[in-house]
């Protein structure tokens, strides 16, 4: 059989081809661009009362009393008013993991500013906030733990009673003899680095609406979540409802990026409230709540030693990473996921003889840490790639050359890394070579040599990384998670008029899956992908599945849709061949028809027979045209995408401002289903990576008060700050997945912090300044320059 460019059998092509590999517009864009998406706040269910949470103003305190004005008592619900609701307990299945509980609302002790204490119910949000404002909570304030390193050092107050210290878990991946490597190394690059705490900031905040459906006798919970089925499972358990009497619906979602990929405390509280009141209740997160009370991200501290020979060949890596996970462990990931991910992937695309990783997760009186696009890897990539650039500088070579020489070679694939990950396929060095060509390194260096004018310096920074995606059963088991997310399911269903519906358990909130899943179906069935309906986000409309996160949906749900539609294709062909009075082998599917030579029969005719006139079916053929399948990739270890980013920046040492002049991405995500969607994902991730590199930070003062609780203080990159990246594709299909696709939703965010900060350091290399902390704000740049100037004899040129 012929293969097309994507390596997919050319069996069911329609003209023009719109299946896997085609660059077609997104089906979902019409409604989104027309303002016709339906989000949680758009739901209009009669009688709905709005909820405002009363939240803790202190970072650590024991609740002594809660005074509620008598006139409002019936509108206020404390944890004790909700009946027997279990606290959330998110653990790793590992004997060393220290267990803590996270109640939906605080009962005795609050552990971060913003922690929920009470629900206030009123006809409007403003009135609900009035009620919330009237509540007086008396606290016995407890000492506050803010500094991550102090918390790790055990020199602070204990956050969870009964613990010996605030360390939750220590993970120690690695292999080889690091001491032997240290002895023979010519060069040691030793650095401390820091990626500060961030918020996630989806355009639409979180939100929950719940009510009792009297006809179906079920509790209906609408939530802006990435994983409705999983949420139903855990909610049912926590609030004491049988799962078959509960329906969870995730409507359109205005961005999620991981912050909607956890069980949310507010989901538990609102669902529990809906159980005991006889009207629908809704909470819509406002921006301040989003910035201070939703799960946050990053906050990594690195102590790294990279060992190499005098030519820049990497011998080994010794890394201690401390991640500040905030006050609680969130379900299902646990608070240790971030740090464990970091130390698991630090070696990146490089070969080395020895790696010693130590990942320490500690708690503090800040919001809990959750997944955010990239999970751990933006920090890991930042730390590792900073060291690679410094290694290149130390041995006097170009950073991209060092990368090429140290990378796993294509003929070594599949390759088991020093940290135990199995890389399935790819040509890592090629991504660097292509990137270097696109940048034209030599000409850049010529321009850079021309002396910096008026304090403006240009720099070139690199970042290469490996992006594990579509983690399967084995990977989740190795991470000791309580839930195992190794598969996805789908139902493919023809309607009696010959049209196709796909019912999937993943969610689509920017990934283009209403288009790309249709393209998979188009490939298998030869149908028009613009005419395929994709239903998702509702436990009532699809088989059980695990949701959209961890760059898994195209691989997992794409595989499931492929398998289900392949099954349907067989049956359609059998029925078609029977109608055409020919053999199965002589028919093919094209443009919504079963075709045999000059003759054809449309799917509408096939479906008429399958659903309405069974007498015309082939002998022994069952009526109906529906297939429900589950799919898991062949290896449960994940499909590894990778990329190299290169950023060219301009640093103004007068103002500390950074401008990104050029940005190049060469990536490989295996078989590409829709290049336009892939490029959009890269560009979107890049915007968040640039935020991470230059703007976004959620600092806390020594009392644990958040210093960035509005967009005045929490800066996000906007349209003018994010350049349009020049993107090139490499396609190395994964041997482990259907069609060879790999996930790729996070890469843009993974590479950008490293590439941008490396570029800034390259620009400042002659000023004696090195910056190893994100975001690289004007204050950090100017302060570093001022410090360098004050410690050097000559501060000429700095003018500070």
């Amino acid at each position: 059989m012929e293969k097309n460019e994507s390596g997919v059998d050319e069996k069911n092509r329609q003209q023009p081809f719109r299946g896997i590999g085609a660059r077609i517009n997104r089906n979902e864009d019409a409604r989104f661009l027309d303002g016709k998406g339906e989000y949680l706040a758009d739901l209009n269910i009669p009688g709905t009362q709005e909820v405002a949470f009363s939240r803790s103003p202190v970072a650590h305190g024991r609740i002594l009393s809660i005074e509620i004005p008598e006139e409002f008592r019936s509108q206020v619900f404390l944890m004790s008013d909700l009946g027997n609701i279990k606290p959330v307990r998110a653990v790793l299945n590992h004997p060393d993991f220290r267990v803590s509980d996270f109640p939906a609302m605080a009962t005795d002790v609050v552990r971060f500013v913003g922690e929920a204490i009470a629900m206030c119910v009123a006809p409007t949000r403003a009135e609900a906030e009035d009620v919330a404002q009237s509540i007086f909570v008396d606290f016995e304030e407890l000492p506050v733990v803010v500094d991550t390193l102090e918390s790790a050092g055990g020199r602070t107050e204990i956050i969870h009673e009964g613990w010996p210290n605030n360390t939750v878990f220590i993970s120690k991946p690695g292999n080889g003899d690091i001491d032997a490597v240290a002895k023979k190394a010519d060069v040691i690059i030793s650095r401390e680095l820091r990626m500060n705490r961030q918020c996630v900031v989806s355009l639409e905040g979180r939100g929950v609406l719940a009510y009792q459906d009297r006809r179906l006798q079920e509790l209906v919970v609408y939530s802006s979540t990435q994983q409705p089925h999983i949420i139903r499972t855990i909610l049912a358990k926590l609030i004491g409802v049988d799962e078959h009497k509960m329906r969870v619906v995730a409507p359109d979602i205005g961005g999620a990026f991981g912050v909607k990929n956890n069980l949310q405390q507010e989901e538990v509280a609102i669902a529990a409230l809906a159980k005991i009141v006889d009207f629908p209740v809704r909470w819509i997160e406002d921006r301040r709540e989003h910035l201070i009370a939703s799960a946050q991200a990053r906050e990594h501290h690195y102590s790294m030693k990279l060992y190499a020979d005098k030519n820049g060949r990497i011998l080994g890596l010794d890394a201690e990473v401390i991640v500040d996970a905030g006050a609680y462990s969130i379900w299902p990931w646990s608070c240790a996921m971030e740090c464990n991910m970091v130390v698991g992937v630090l070696p990146g695309p490089y070969k080395m003889e020895a790696y010693r990783g130590k990942g320490i997760t500690v708690l503090s009186n800040k919001p809990p840490l959750g997944p955010y696009r990239g999970v751990g890897r933006p920090g890991a990539c930042f730390a590792m790639e900073r060291l690679i650039d410094e290694l290149a500088r130390e041995v006097g070579r170009e950073p991209h050359e060092i990368r090429i020489e140290n990378m796993v070679e294509p003929d070594q694939m599949p390759f088991t890394t020093i940290a135990g990950k199995l890389y399935d396929s790819g040509n890592f060095p090629q991504s660097v070579r292509k990137c270097a060509e696109m940048i034209n390194v030599e000409s850049f260096r010529e321009r850079q040599k021309l002396n910096a004018k008026n304090g403006i310096h240009i720099g070139l920074g690199w970042a290469s990384y490996v992006e594990q995606t579509a983690h399967g059963t084995n990977e989740w088991l190795s991470r000791n998670l309580s839930e195992i997310f190794g598969y996805e399911s789908a139902t493919a269903r023809f309607t009696p008029d010959g049209n196709l519906i796909l019912e999937v358990a993943i969610h689509n909130h920017g990934q283009g899956l209403e288009t790309t899943l249709a393209q998979v179906a188009a490939t298998e069935l030869g149908v028009d992908p613009t005419n395929v309906v994709i239903r998702y986000g509702d436990t009532a409309v699809s088989p059980y599945g695990l949701g959209t996160f961890a760059s898994r949906s195209m691989v997992m749900a794409g595989g499931a849709v492929g398998k289900a539609t392949e099954e349907l294709a067989e049956k359609v062909k059998r029925i078609g061949a029977h109608i055409l009075e020919t053999t199965f082998d002589s028919v093919l599917l094209r443009d919504g028809m079963v075709v045999s030579g000059e003759r054809s029969v449309p799917f509408s005719e096939i479906c008429r027979v399958a659903y309405r006139h069974a007498q015309d079916l082939p002998p022994n053929e069952e009526p109906g045209l529906t297939a429900t399948v589950a799919y898991q990739p062949e290896s449960g270890t994940g499909a590894f995408s990778y990329a190299t980013h290169a950023a060219e920046v301009l640093v103004d040492t007068n103002s500390g401002l950074v401008k990104i002049d050029d940005y190049v991405v060469v990536h490989d995500c295996g078989t590409i289903v829709n290049p336009m969607v892939v490029e959009g994902q890269i560009q979107g991730g890049l915007a968040q990576g640039i935020g991470n590199a230059l703007y976004e930070e959620s600092p806390y003062d020594s009392n644990g008060q958040p210093l960035a609780s509005t967009f005045l203080d929490y800066l996000l990159p906007g349209f003018t700050e994010v350049p349009t990246a020049r993107i090139e594709h490499i396609e190395s299909p994964s041997p482990f997945t259907r069609y060879g696709v790999k996930g790729m939703g996070e890469g843009g965010a993974i590479g950008a912090p490293a590439a941008v900060v490396n570029a800034i350091n390259d620009a400042l290399k002659n000023t004696g300044v090195e910056i190893n902390e994100t975001p690289v704000s004007p204050r950090r740049i100017l302060t570093a320059i001022q410090r360098a100037a004050s410690t050097s004899d000559s501060n000429e040129g700095n003018n500070l």
Binding site: T124, R125, A126, E129, D130, Q133, D286, R287, R288, N654, S655, G656, L657, Y695, T710, L712, L715, P717, G718, T720, E721, S777, P778, R779, L782, T783, Q786, N799, L800
Partner: protein, 282 residues
């Protein structure tokens, strides 16, 4: 993020508006464009009893041009300056300033008088109005009065306008055709509040020469040494730049503003960029 309950009135005359403020001991607030006030209300940060909407008062939309000045009503919107819908008294300076305020959506609603009355230290209008020597017409129960630019801005978020008074209009003296102007601000991203900003004006014919510095969270200051130096300096050169740097440092020393090195550097950059653009571009 919804406001607590409050009264809302929209008086049909300036006098009625003054009255609506006067019969409250405290908690009366004017609203015009609402671009700063409404978010503050939503955050429940601004204590409020009564909102007095002055956005439609004719007196506050007035526009009078004479041979030596233009009188701008307080409720003229930033976008009207940006789009040249009002007379230009300043060789394009006010248009340049307006066009750089936040985002267009904010400029469509936000007003010059609202911005001046709130006196956010990062607000764009303040340094140019001080540098221009604008006069502020204020009305209260005791009647009208005029406040000079030098007395108008008393600190971050505080002005000469009393709690029961209304800023009605701003009179901006016209610059001569030969006047040179510069305005520069340092922002981390387009549309954000400035970290530092500066306006420089040299109008030899009118004997006006001012360099005014603004800095996030600080009161705006007129830089006397830099202003004096600007008055007679020749063409822009490296030497002129160095001299301005020295005069700026002297100004900051005199203002007791040397302790924060980061701020010192940012403000220096803003000042040098501003005087350079005044001397080179205009």
């Amino acid at each position: 993020m919804k406001p607590p309950p409050f009264d809302y009135v929209r008086p049909d005359s300036l006098q009625a508006a003054v009255g609506a403020l006067a019969d409250l001991e405290w908690g009366g607030r004017l609203i015009a464009g609402g671009q700063s006030l409404v978010p503050m209300l939503n955050l429940r940060l601004a204590p409020l009893v009564r909102l007095v909407d002055v956005s439609r008062l004719e007196e506050l939309r007035c526009l009078e041009e004479t041979s030596d000045a233009v009188l701008f009503g307080a409720c003229i919107r930033h976008a009207e300056f940006e789009d040249s819908e009002v007379p230009d008294a300043t060789n394009g300076l006010m248009q340049q300033v307006a066009a750089g305020i936040a985002y267009r959506a904010i400029r469509n609603r936000g007003t010059i008088g609202g911005s001046v009355s709130l006196a956010d230290p990062s607000a764009d209008w303040i340094t140019p109005l001080i540098a221009l020597g604008a006069r502020f017409n204020i009305v209260g129960q005791e009647g009208k009065r005029v406040c000079q630019a030098a007395d108008m801005f008393t600190g971050p978020y505080t002005t000469n306008v009393g709690d029961h008074e209304i800023l009605v209009s701003i009179e901006v003296p016209k610059l001569s055709a030969e006047a040179q102007t510069g305005y520069y601000k340092i922002v981390r991203k387009a549309g954000e509040f400035a970290m530092a900003m500066c306006t420089a004006i040299r109008d030899k014919q009118h004997g006006l020469c001012n360099v005014v510095l603004g800095c996030a969270n600080r009161k705006q200051i007129l830089l006397p040494n830099s202003s004096t130096y600007l008055a007679d300096v020749g063409e822009w050169s490296d030497q002129v730049r160095a001299d301005f740097r020295a005069s700026y440092r002297k100004d900051m020393q005199q203002a007791n503003r040397m302790e924060d090195l980061y701020e010192l550097k940012l403000c220096e950059t803003a000042v040098l960029q501003t005087v350079e653009s005044a001397l080179v571009n205009s």
